[in-house]
Amino acid sequence: MDAYTFLLQGLATASEPAMLLYALIGVTLGTAVGVLPGIGPALTVALLLPVTYRLDPAGSLIMFAGIYYGGMYGGSTTSILLNTPGESASIITALEGNKMARKGRGGPALATAAIGSFIAGLIATLLLAFLAPSIVKIALVFGPREYFALMVLAFVTVSAAFGDSALRGLTSLFLGLALACIGIDQLTGQARLSFGVPDLLDGIEVTTMAVAMFAVGEALFIAGQRVRQDDEVTAVKGSVWMSLQDWRRSWKPWLRGTAIGFPIGAMPAGGAEIGTFLSYAAEKKLTKHPEEFGNGAIEGVAGPEAANNASAAGTLVPLLTLGLPTSATAAIMLAGFQQFGLQPGPLLFATNPTLVWGLIASLLIANAMLLVLNLPLIGLWVKLLTIPRHWLYAGILLFATLGTIGANPSSFELGMLLAFGVLGYVMRLFGYPIAPIVVGLILGPMAEQQLRRALSISQGDWTTLLQSPIAAVLLGLAALAFIVPLILRARGKGEVLSQMAADED
């Protein structure tokens, strides 16, 4: 059977009434949480994970898909209506979008962001559906050494390639890898770094760590800021409908943004917001209204928003087909799969096609629901934006601890939440990126296992890693991704790289 048949079957699964309800709850919760200032998609997904604990795998993953897409939509609303965007994923959107909103064109800005996100999400999800079977076919010939090389590449791109310092990226990654060693060794059953504490034998929970880093760390950081910027919500005046000219100026940026964003999301180079950045640069160059850029050009909202959503869908390509999370959000999604004992990857397509294709199809459905829900409910989202900060962060911490308690009602787990929260605060303070530590924690054990398998097959011969052409190429790319940015930074061209980095997502 081909992708088309599978996708139709998936649509049949995803349009069962119960599944539609899950998707609807997912997109609504996702948007509502994503709209809250300072909450990016990674935290949205982490905070809402406990809602899905007791559902069946299919329903839970479908709700998850809705939460993920909803969180992305919510983020763009925030960045258009608020003068201080919380999440870096939306900084580019805020550049033009907030200017438009201040000129009283908030409606069209929100509309072009929503429709652009819809179109990008639609195209990118279809691309995901049609690419997945062929990648799965390639992935099936991947052995342990190829997987190991792929993970090394992901480690390097997440930690060292982008951002303003290879040192801080690598430090964050290695802390994640060290934490990943805690617990029982998968192959020999020996306890590592557990210091006789039984709670540590199971290792560190990825969701606890992600919630602590993103929610607790961020709350501490914002609370401690001496210079407090006052958020100012710009009211949406006039019609939310786009004029004919708005449409004419938007459709090309949507398509270009999608074309730029999807491949970048699909490459194992997550964490980087290169997609939105490149799309903005492209629109600025191609526009017929260069004077409007910086003062609220609609192309500057349409393109980057489309790129943002397309790369979000792109991230799902390595996650679903290879089981490889390339961003903090994807790492938390992987944890969501693992709570049901499911390991995404080529095998899941073979053993549980209904689930995988139901998930992909539900992305399409979630995307359509968001388009319908978003614009009419804009008044509600604006209300959410005006929640005073002290209530907002108090509520965020309530839900952050709820997730941890719900997964494991022990004081020890809460102690870890607190400890990682403080760690996240210190890392933020000193400019350490957060994504590498999360990705290191979840990918570390997988990479170790693949390496040990590969060397078992070769009976301890390390050259085996380079004897497979695929593995050799991947390791070569990893080396390049490490060395080239070092040279660029040494030559003082580091600003470009740091602009491309993101705190999360």
Binding site: R192, A394, Q459
Partner: protein, 157 residues
Amino acid sequence: MKRGRDTAALFIAAGLAVVGAVVLWDSARLADLGGYSGLGPASVPRVVGFGLLGLALWTVIAALRGEFPERPAQNPAPVLWIVAGLAAQLMLLHAAGFSIATGILFAFTARGFGKRNMALSLSVGIALSFAVWCVFSQLLMLHLPAGPIEQLIFRRG
């Protein structure tokens, strides 16, 4: 941004070195059953441990050259309020139940963000936490510790 010696960054370097040393010390007591691969349970921790030591050294160099970015000025009091709130919740969770413990966290966090009326934020926090407890433990069947408030309304163990 060349500045002078960065003492705080030197502390980070020391911390990294300690973590690296602990990882190495722990790996030394593992029986290294490499088997066919030559890689045992201690091999990867060893690489990570030495990696952390190397990064500690690199951090020292960066700190001495003043290469760390400028840090935003911070007020310690709000941060401590939130940390205290989390610690209080952690200690009271099983004794006082979810609603009271989380309500205290809520009020302390609001205090950290400048809301001074603790009586108000504590009651809002407990009410909200109780509502959340009802939804998540009764509807979504999560195990959330029950305390006096929860037991008063739902008479169950």
